[in-house]
């Protein structure tokens, strides 16, 4: 029974850790999008991508005299019992000369995953033979697409009857005030039709709509459930020449309510006047 409790507690901690990492990934992605825009701002769309690759980092740093100046905790070097102050004598029986240290490090970096290797070190007056196995790590393939143009989309629905081209807008462009527990969101669907998430605003003929919204709540106290959360529907009556600013209202007292994502609701946090005409 105790074992089961430990497993459950560990699982919930792991889940929290995964979600924290996703939040961190989003933060890095935002920073990367800004940096990419700055670098190639004149382009309407910036796409950066790389294939997956692996590398071997053994976790020790050597100075020019081949002396170990740092051993990272938990690394292969640490597992091999390498110590700060050790002087590397050879790698896989190939002598290491300080003037050709780069060659020795190239040998080390060229080793393949799961390949055993040995390092001879001088520690004080003694020499030691340290053995280890290469544990390569992976960088997943990735693609960063940054959109610098913000074309306003007009969402036409078959059920929509436009009268005199009267229209309004829904928008997630402005960041709502976090101090009021309002967070950004994105629009996923309008009347059941999936829309381009990259678009921050949509022109809609004056009518009633069901807008599918996802939250982007960045709140450390929030414990989300795992997996992708379903969108929440916001029912809206669009009046002519009005812009409805949509956000995610964080319901603090329900922050542990994973079931049905009770911790948030899509809301219109502000309505502004803005002239609108359908194309």
């Amino acid at each position: 029974m105790y074992k089961s409790i430990v497993v459950m507690v560990t699982a919930s901690l792991l889940c929290a850790s995964v979600l924290g990492q996703e939040q961190q990934a989003r933060d890095y992605a935002r920073a990367a999008a800004i940096a990419a825009s700055k670098a190639q701002g004149s382009q309407q769309q910036v796409v950066l991508e790389e294939p997956a690759r692996s590398y071997f980092e053994w976790g020790a740093i050597l100075n020019k005299q081949a002396e170990v100046v740092s051993v990272r905790e938990g690394s292969i070097a640490a597992e091999m019992q390498l110590k700060v102050g050790d002087v590397i004598q050879h790698i896989n029986n190939q002598p290491v000369y300080p003037q050709q240290l780069d060659d020795a490090l190239t040998t080390l970096a060229s080793l393949e995953h799961n390949q055993p290797f040995s390092v001879g070190v001088k520690r004080g007056e003694q020499t030691h033979e340290l053995n280890g196995t290469v544990r390569a790590t992976v960088i997943p393939g990735w693609r960063l697409e940054v959109v610098n143009t913000l074309e306003e989309a007009t969402q036409n629905s078959e059920s929509t009857v436009s009268m005199n081209n009267a229209c309004g807008r829904i928008s997630v462009f402005f960041t709502p005030p976090v101090t009021a527990d309002l967070y950004p969101a994105f629009i996923n669907s309008i009347d059941g039709d999936n829309v381009r998430i990259k678009n921050p605003s949509f022109k809609l003929a004056a009518n009633n709509y069901k807008v599918g919204v996802h939250e982007l709540i960045d709140e450390p106290s929030l414990r989300r459930g795992g997996g992708s959360a379903p969108e929440k529907i916001l029912e809206l009556t669009i009046e002519p020449n009005k812009t409805y600013h949509i956000g995610a209202k964080f319901i603090r007292e329900k922050r542990y309510q994973r079931f049905n994502a009770g911790y948030w609701e899509p809301v219109v946090w502000k309505v502004t006047d803005q002239s609108c005409q359908l194309d």
């Binding site: 409790i5 459950m8 700055k38 992976v138 960088i139 309002l182 605003s201 007292e253 502004t272």
Partner: protein
């Protein structure tokens, strides 16, 4: 310093924001003023944590009555005879940014970087480790 690219981008965004922000402010719904009370924030998590803990114990107790297969025997039976535990899978880096920085520091040593440069890199290293 702002580059030409950045200036162009700034201009583009300013135009968009100017168009979006035309005649701002009409109405704010009630939700904006409804802030949770501080006392609630402090007390509720304790209640919820206690309730969650009790639920976990209850669920585990209930699960303990269900028939459970002998997992150790199942695992042994499923392992192919040829598989070896020595072949470890390739994993994602535990701390990629630290890996990159350590590579930079190693390069700095190889290229005879100045003490000031090395000191700066080690300061970054310490910040990433903490």
């Amino acid at each position: 310093m702002t580059t030409k690219h950045e200036q162009h981008l700034q201009q583009q965004w300013q135009q968009y924001v100017a168009a979006e922000a035309e005649q701002v402010e009409l109405e704010f719904p009630q939700e904006l003023t409804a802030k949770p009370r501080r006392a609630e924030i402090q007390i509720k998590p304790l209640w919820l944590t206690a309730a969650a803990f009790l639920m976990a114990i209850g669920l585990t107790w209930w699960l303990s009555f269900l028939p459970v297969p002998d997992s150790s025997k199942v695992e042994i039976a499923n392992v192919p005879a040829s598989s070896s535990l020595e072949v470890a899978p390739m994993l994602l880096a535990a701390n990629y940014r630290l890996d990159v920085l350590e590579r930079r520091i190693q390069q700095a040593y190889l290229q005879g970087a100045s003490d000031a440069e090395l000191e700066q890199l080690w300061a970054q290293h310490q910040a990433l480790e903490n």
